[in-house]
């Protein structure tokens, strides 16, 4: 009994110590961690008289350099402009297209659009796997010349997709583009 206990103690001591030195030899591969950084939100408008990409981009992440934000220019009095959103992580090489992940997990995502000042209306042109709004694809209809902003939010794990003004969950991105209808 006594010798057994002694041997057990020595074994544990040895095992702990060696695991410790094993850990010390571990050279911390950079691939061990992976972060999701959304650096770029792109709005691609295609319609009568327009085929253009507009970007909200902050390549160096929070702080540092200010984000670069395009003004979305939409031709006036035009209907049926289709918009497709692309979300990228351009801090990595090659860049990661997060849009594909969002499409795959459509139930857990929702894009919302809030327009201030500009004479443009936006309707959803896609649904998630349950037939609820998703918002990667939308249809834009513009009226007369005006300026304003459009705020696009991507919600992750929304609790209520029927309430577009407060769907719950948390914001993966929350960007505001200046808009010009001309």
């Amino acid at each position: 009994m006594t010798t057994k206990f002694f041997k057990l103690t020595l074994f544990v001591l040895f095992a702990t110590t060696s695991s410790l030195f094993f850990a010390a030899c571990d050279n911390n591969d950079d691939d061990e961690t992976e972060q999701e950084n959304i650096t770029t939100v792109q709005v691609h408008l295609v319609g009568a008289g327009i085929d253009q990409e507009f970007e909200w981009s902050d390549l160096d992440g929070p702080g540092g350099n200010n984000p670069v934000i395009d003004t979305i220019v939409v031709p006036a009095m035009t209907g049926d402009i289709s918009s497709h959103i692309h979300v990228y992580d351009r801090s990595k090489t090659p860049e990661v297209d997060i849009t594909e992940e969002i499409e795959e997990e459509s139930l857990e995502h929702l894009f919302t659009y809030a327009i201030t000042g500009a004479n443009v209306s936006i309707t959803y042109d896609d649904t998630d796997a349950n037939g609820k709004p998703l918002g990667i694809k939308t249809i834009w209809t513009s009226l007369g010349a005006s300026t304003g902003t459009i705020r696009i939010i991507l919600f992750h794990e929304p609790s209520n997709k029927d309430n577009l003004s407060d769907p719950g969950g948390e914001a993966d991105f929350d960007v505001t583009f200046p808009v010009k209808i001309q």
């Binding site: 702990t16 992976e34 200010n66 929350d174």
Partner: protein
Amino acid sequence: MSERFWLLLVVAMLGLAPEIFAQDCHVALRGHLYDADTREPLAYATVRVAETGRGATADENGYYVLPDHCEGASYTVSVTHVACEHFTQVVKLVENQAFDFWLSHVAHLQEITVLERAVAPTPVQASQEVSSSDLAAGQGVNITETMKKLPGVTSINTGATIAKPVIQGLHSNRIALINNQVALESQQWGSEHAPEIDPFTAGKITVLKGAAGVRYGVGAMGGAILIEPDPLRTEAGWGGWVHGGMFSNGRSGVAAGAVDWKKAEGTLGLRFQGTIKRSGNLRTPDYWLGNTGAGEANLSVMAGWQSGRWRHDLSASTFNQKIGILRAAHQGNLTDLMLAIESDTPRNNPNWFTYDIERPYQTVNHQTFQYRTSLRLNEKWKFSGQYSFQYNERKEFDVVRKTSAAADKPQLLFDLWTNQVNLALEHFPIRHWQGGVGVQGLQQKNLVGKGGLIPDYDTYGGAIWAMERWRKYPNPWEFEVGARYDFRHSNVLTTGNLVDVDTTLVFGNVSGTAGAVYHFSKALSLSLHSGYAWRPPHVNELFARGVHFGSGTYEQGRSDLRPEKGWNTNLTLLHQTRRVEASLSVYHNRIRDFIYLEPQEELVLTVRGAFPAYFFEQDNVVLQGLDGGLSVVLAGQLSAEGRVSLLRAYRVTRDSGENSENKTWLPLMPSDRFQYGLKWRFGRDEQTTNTHESFVRLLASTTMEQTRLPQEGLLKPAPETFTVLSLEVVHTFAVGEKTLEIGLNVQNLSNQRYREYLNFFRFYADEPGINAGLRAKLTF
């Protein structure tokens, strides 16, 4: 009590006075008498010295004193206890040395062992020990919880699962945690990084308040917490304990145990200790706190032996923890945060019970290896050496898209390797001075995964210290003086992250300490202690850049921060009698270039929206306050206790002219708090050993609303004053030759709904409601 008591061992340092010193015949022979089996003081035993014919009776704490004996002389000391045969032992008297006698129930004569104790006597500095009953009650929770019953000690929390100790307003990098004589090295800069210490390994916890830099280095400018294991077994054979506990809130279970063994011949002693813990979602009075489960598994081994004049100690431990983070506290951006703050109940909250832990969570793994040795060089000098190695790995798992590359990986990873060497040369009293000199070396490597919050670094550090203390018993004065020089050299490098850093940092400075104690009587003493300590800025404070999602703030370091330097003075009055125990401490801590997060006026625009910016700034600050504790025996078995902790912490701004000192309060400082309660002891024979403690204790803690805070950056008003009640019933009794302790502990007895200012998750959810814990500990 009819068994015979035998003298088992005499503690510490039977140094012989060299003949070169004139013999001093006004030295007191004094010390404590203990029951070796229970480690409790042995009251009312008689101590007699054959040569002088003088005798004394030990008091209720087992303390005895026989004045006017000659240093270096041999005395035959006999100890007699009620209804026991007397026992004698020859001792050689050394000044300032307490002769502690450990008496055993064991009927056969044991080999007498002399144990070396660290030379350094207890510091003059204000210190407080966690009582053994509080230690036992808090062990199933976490190490911080066990210390909160001490005046001046509070905690800073991140939800209900992560707690860090705060001493007189200071925490994290300003507090040193010394676990089994090794300074804990982990990612302590983060306020959501809890200390990696298993409370079940602690036999004793002492909190040193105020600058303790001379003893414990640059990490101890605000104080130090010493966690010491029980000493290894000194009687041949087996011993140990098993502990089982359950808590209603979180439906948690904890099991811990230790086995001790001492070789029959020789000096080898071993201990094997382990703890496992599991808990599920906690509950407030109204709802579950989704994703607040936790799990823990720890193991440690200790070995100690003597070979000739050498003493060797070896220990290794592993600490492994997984902690769920309140799901509702994970905020995407400021809009989410404001919605969460406005909501009375947590949003996105999985409002049910489960043991499962989902993202966000963190895992921590901490390993320590230590070798310690000491050598008696001669009668006056002792050498000691220590080498320790620590490895700390922390992983943080955030909420991510399930199909992304991040889904099976942590989002943050920190690896920290630390090697430390301490060498000391200490001496026993020479012309009433006792102390030592030492050197310390430290090497540290920190690696952070891609995209981490802080850069990688390599640090080399060194220190040299000297400390002396004067005591000439029974002269009422005691003095202490010490000095230390520390330096740190760090290479800081990060590539591939969003910001590149490549720089070398060098910091060096002195620390100092001086103190005096005046003993009015054995029961009453007044001590004044003043310490100067410093701390180099941490890489986090220099280079951090990013959004802290829990608090919804953008934080940015400043690479030109200077070291903090603190001058801490405290005055402590201690009164201890059989009926009354009182302590009162006032302190003043002036820190130059105190580093803290200052809210900025602008917002930082990120892809998740705009966040309020906080930059690390420094300023001269003052932290001053009062800690008091009182315990009075009201009648017979009934006693009352009360404690108070007051703190005023403000910035001293000078730009307003030379004659006015504008005060602006510092953020995140503990508010005033009071504790008061009643304790009724039962089943205890006052006239014999106080081996077994059985009591009922009702305690109330009132935490005042923090009204002294800066208005800028305060997203939600500080919570209102609240009072929580706790009830504790402990009964200890003998089961054959074993001791069984049963404890019932009810926290938040009235199921009070409250939030705590020093909890970062006060934005989102209430604190946990009623929690009843039942524990049993069998000691064999």
